[in-house]
Assembly symmetry: C2
Homo-oligomer: 667 residues x 2
């Protein structure tokens, strides 16, 4: 051996099992890593490193595992502050009924900073050194992340509808441009543009994102094909699946990283592979929200770069990448009935070098090799749940890490050459202050949600679309002795028919045990033409407050105060969102005339109740009203109309159908 | 309030969130539990308990969660000592290639005691107070468990073939009878009979198990329908699925608890429900071994008692019930595309009261209610990954436990009124001694596996069935100038044809880079009749040791030493078990004659090589030999036969087909 001069470095980690995740997956049983500044200088057998380098500090690892820092390739970090707020609900109810309303109320720069701090603390504890984010106010998220010392690709969300930080997508793009200029070139933060998903984008919006991305050379972070519904709607609207649609709109002109890809086919995999797009696989979130199981084994067979992500902590419910990689390994085997797919070393690659490739950051991180940034962690594999160790299999250490180890086994974390955790103590974050602030905010969110849950009106407002108009009506209702008496009214000289319609009305009542809650009616109308063909369908929600019913002279009533909104979601959504104690359906066939009688607009309905089936034909005469005086005048007119029809007052009743029908559940 | 006299108890846990898992799932935000001896005396609001009871010791829980001890409903505890030994392999390779050979070598009472101690330590750390086992030497497992202070249902394995602790099932039954007598009535241990699975039982064996179970009133613990293959074979062999078959054989005369049930249909669910049989759901193991995803949501809809189990740590690879319940919740949602199934509180029930019902131990454990044994745990839900807490949803604490919490959050564990862990310190086990002993044993197992892996002969022996005979042959091989010259030989006056056959021979060679390894040939012969119909198929393995080839005078060779075994498993099995570096196939069509020539049995083969396709017809003349002297005599006879055929010596070659074929991978 010739004499060599030793080179000076800042730090040597030695006496470790070093899993490099380099091209050859070199593994050193008694290995060492030399670090200078933010950079890895050398990796190799401990003796060799000791011979070649002299270090200001040497850390003896006592046989622990040293490996690249874990990469969480997809998350929404501030959502730590919504963790566990709503569970066991379908994606639309969870997202539109809970996450978005709460976000509209609470998300601001301070929320994002605090949520990021909580997330960074949790992720550092579980061995993550780098993550990919998508949220609002990414400038603040970037700042909090850089202060915590972590590496991140921060994707500023862009949506075709208003968001907490932008009234329009143009505003969001403007913010994103500033954000990129401010942070591009930072040693820890890489800015990215995050059009949320194809179905929340317009082609123009996507085009603007692509142009911005190519102008600055930053990647685009988005969601693809998370649910089957998304693919079905893409097929229906555009005649093609998600990946061909975004390809047609030029998305792959930019570097792309796409979360989920639960429902992509082999052709879409080939397309993504051809463009070098990364897949961010989030198994927990896909399971928890019932989205399905991504075909990861097939993706890897197509040589796609697949990383693993936790998704936001609100749909996970943690940021535990050890749990996530464990799940990724297990799930792929179970889903394909093939225990040989995603073997431990391949999953280790996904949490390190392959993850870095998927997010276009493999020039910086994901492997322990000279020239890469010093992003590394120390893992103690000696806990009971990892015991005893076997060495017969060459991949034994990877199997321990993937199949047995827990996040709590991570003891030390370094990012960019800086220690973020030593001996399980966080060095860059004030854990107690963050916890206290999060607790205080959670109490406010709790109060908001509780108040809303107790009040159907607020719940309606929270999901948007409510027309805050109130509608007061006077109404008379009765059984007609013979249906054809209606003809007498309609041909009367004082009556002018303005409009006529014929529809089947399907009412679903959501009823609550608490009498103060009021009730929600989902009304779906199917309009029928002269050939009894359905020509159009319309759905509306009505919220009726309790206790506003008033009797007027001549048995005409002033109806309850009501609030209406178009119902653009499914009955199932409303059921799961409002969670009624009981549900009741009334179907009727209605012929309806808008008439003018002595200068007032009056509505005449002729109804047959088909569910529950009730014999006979019912008459309703209604008019809108605005004042007591106006109501009294209209009552008089309606009374005259009843006389024309020859309907006696004892055939009338005050109740609405749901209150009148004998087997109605409130009876 | 009337004055009441306070009652004396041993211990009050107070200031806790108490999740009772009783009939009404009562939850006390500031609750307490009173314990006397091994029994829970009262559960309720802290103030109420303080008023009614006076305790020798009061433990303030500081707002932590107190809940019933977790029940691990299916495992094989001593397999902690095989944890992580073999991974990413198919069930048959993993079980028959690794687990069973190592068990045959190492499992004895000491192994079982040590493995149980390691398992108990790990399980206590993750909040388990009760488990259900199935293994060998259950007397020793019961003893180690009772010493560790845990509750267990211990199922003594019974198999139709020899096992580490019994040469026959009759021996196993005798052992089991003794085991039951010895342990029945113990405060912690409940003995059970564990016929391993329907496919490893005979009807007589099952009958004997049922009779023993009903004689002593102990339950039967078994595996049902773990793989699709098991169901397919049941349908093929018995014309019915697994559950109807065991029903027909009377299994449900006993109390049954059945692990896995991955592939049972709705009718089988109804049958199991009718008999009150418990299902032991093991999601990790089912995924890791590629067995599939059990239809748990449907089982619960059928009102089956479903508990959750880790299965043995060798197929998991840990005994972490927090991870397992988390997975059970997530997986059921993903598999059904319905995030509303298995909501958090239901999964909480599965880990406690429903688990206890599934294992027929709900009279003792699974809920915090007066009269039940004091099996309880304290969980700290304040770690970062659980933070912040929300209370808006009534099930929030269950959601934290199921979706965010980690095994390491368990701080204290009590079983049968005795503390097993306080402040994360184990009280009944010497953790360091167990770890050291396990490490020493693992080194021996490693050495055994490594030696075996380096030696194909040992690997062949390990999976059984090898005929340990050695076969030496002399052989001559050559290209025939014209195929019909064979007729000259067969009609020769000194030749007596004893037997003739015609078959297609498909050889798969498993080749290794290491020249010392030798090679494995899987030979599959399809015998053909005069109409070229395949009449019979036979498969054999041949192991050829390296370097035994010898040239003899007259270009006849003494072949390599070879070992043969019938090949009763698939090519896929052997490929995954032997893990060759390369694989090569040779197909030939062979006509074969057994002839007697001058008193010696000689084999004459006329071969056409079809894969790779080689022009011409090849002749082989072979004979078995036992000594140098015998070989020389037979060489002379074969030489005479070559003369009869008119084959010149320069048409012969020494190599076997695989060595001779030009594009053979070793060239």
């Amino acid at each position: 051996m010739e004499e060599e001069e030793t080179e000076r470095v800042d730090l040597i980690l030695t006496g470790a099992v070093v899993a490099t995740a380099n091209d050859d997956f070199d593994l050193y049983e008694n290995g060492a890593v030399a670090v200078r500044g933010d950079e890895i200088v050398a990796v190799g057998p401990a003796a060799e490193i000791a011979e070649r380098y002299e270090a200001a500090e040497t850390v003896a690892c006592g046989g622990r595992l040293v490996m690249p820092g874990i990469i969480n390739t997809h998350t929404h970090v501030p959502m730590t502050l919504l963790r566990g707020l709503a569970n066991d609900r379908r994606l639309d109810v969870w997202l539109m009924g809970y996450m978005m309303p709460v976000e509209r109320e609470f998300v601001n720069p301070e929320f994002c900073v605090l949520g990021t701090q909580l997330a960074c603390a949790e992720m550092i504890r579980s061995g993550v050194t780098c993550f990919v984010d998508m949220y609002y106010y990414e400038k603040d998220i970037a700042r909090a992340t850089a202060e915590a010392g972590m590496r991140a690709l921060c994707g500023q969300t862009i949506l075709k509808f208003p968001s907490p930080d932008a009234a329009s997508y143009e505003d969001a793009l403007g913010y994103t441009r500033e954000f990129i200029k401010e942070w591009q070139g930072h040693p820890l933060i890489a800015p990215a543009i995050a059009p949320h998903a194809p179905y929340t984008s317009t082609p123009e919006m996507l085009r603007a994102c692509i142009d911005l991305a190519t102008e600055f050379g930053v990647p685009i972070h988005t969601h693809f094909a998370e649910t089957k519904l998304e693919v079905e709607e893409s097929l229906q609207n555009y005649g093609m699946r998600v990946v061909p649609w975004v390809e047609q709109h030029g998305l792959f002109e930019a570097k792309v990283l796409a979360a989920h890809c639960v429902h992509i086919d082999e052709d879409e995999m080939r397309t993504m592979q051809r463009y070098g797009a990364g897949v961010l696989h989030c198994p927990s979130s896909n399971l928890k929200l019932g989205s399905g199981i991504a075909p990861v084994a097939a993706m890897l067979a197509h040589d796609l770069n697949v990383g693993i992500g936790t998704d936001g902590p609100a749909s996970n419910n943690n940021l535990n990448m050890m749990e996530e990689t464990h799940l990724a390994a297990m799930l792929a085997k179970g889903a394909t009935n093939d225990p040989t797919v995603l073997p431990a070393r391949q999953v280790f690659a996904m949490m390190t070098r392959k993850g870095a490739q998927a997010i276009h950051m493999d020039h910086l991180t994901g492997a322990l090799e000279p020239g890469k940034r010093a992003d590394l962690i120390v893992v103690d594999l000696s806990a009971l749940h990892n015991w005893p160790p076997f060495t017969a299999e060459p991949d034994a250490v990877y199997a321990q890490l993937i199949y047995s180890a827990q996040a709590g086994d991570v003891t030390d974390v370094m990012c960019n050459g800086r220690w973020l955790m030593r001996d399980r103590a966080l060095l860059t974050l004030d854990e107690e202050a963050v916890r206290a602030a999060a607790l205080a905010l959670a109490a406010k969110i709790d109060a908001f949600v509780i108040a809303r849950e107790e009040d159907l009106f607020s719940k309606l407002v929270a999901i948007g679309g409510l027309e805050r108009e109130e509608s007061y009506e006077i109404q008379v209702k009765g059984r007609l002795p013979r249906p054809d008496v209606i003809a007498d009214l309609l041909r009367h000289e004082d009556i002018n028919i303005v409009h006529r319609s014929h529809y089947r009305q399907y009412d679903t009542y959501f009823l609550f045990d608490d009498p103060d809650m009021g009730r929600i009616r989902l009304r779906e109308d199917a309009f029928i033409n002269e050939d009894f063909q359905v020509t159009r369908v319309r759905a509306r929600l009505t919220f009726t407050e309790p206790g506003e019913r008033q009797a007027l002279p001549d048995t005409v009533m002033l109806s309850r105060a009501r609030f209406m909104a178009p119902a653009d979601r499914s009955r199932r959504f409303y059921r799961e969102y409002f969670r009624p104690n009981r549900e009741y359906e009334i179907h009727k066939e209605r012929r309806r005339w808008h008439v003018d009688y002595k200068g007032e607009r009056i509505y005449v309905n002729l109804d047959t109740v088909t569910k529950p089936a009730i014999a006979g034909t019912f008459l309703e005469i209604k008019s809108r009203t605005w004042s007591r005086h106006d109501a009294e005048r209209k009552v008089k007119l309606i009374s005259e109309m009843l006389d024309i029809l020859g309907v006696s007052r004892d055939q009338l009743f005050l109740e609405e159908y749901i209150d009148f029908i004998p087997d109605h559940p409130e009876e």
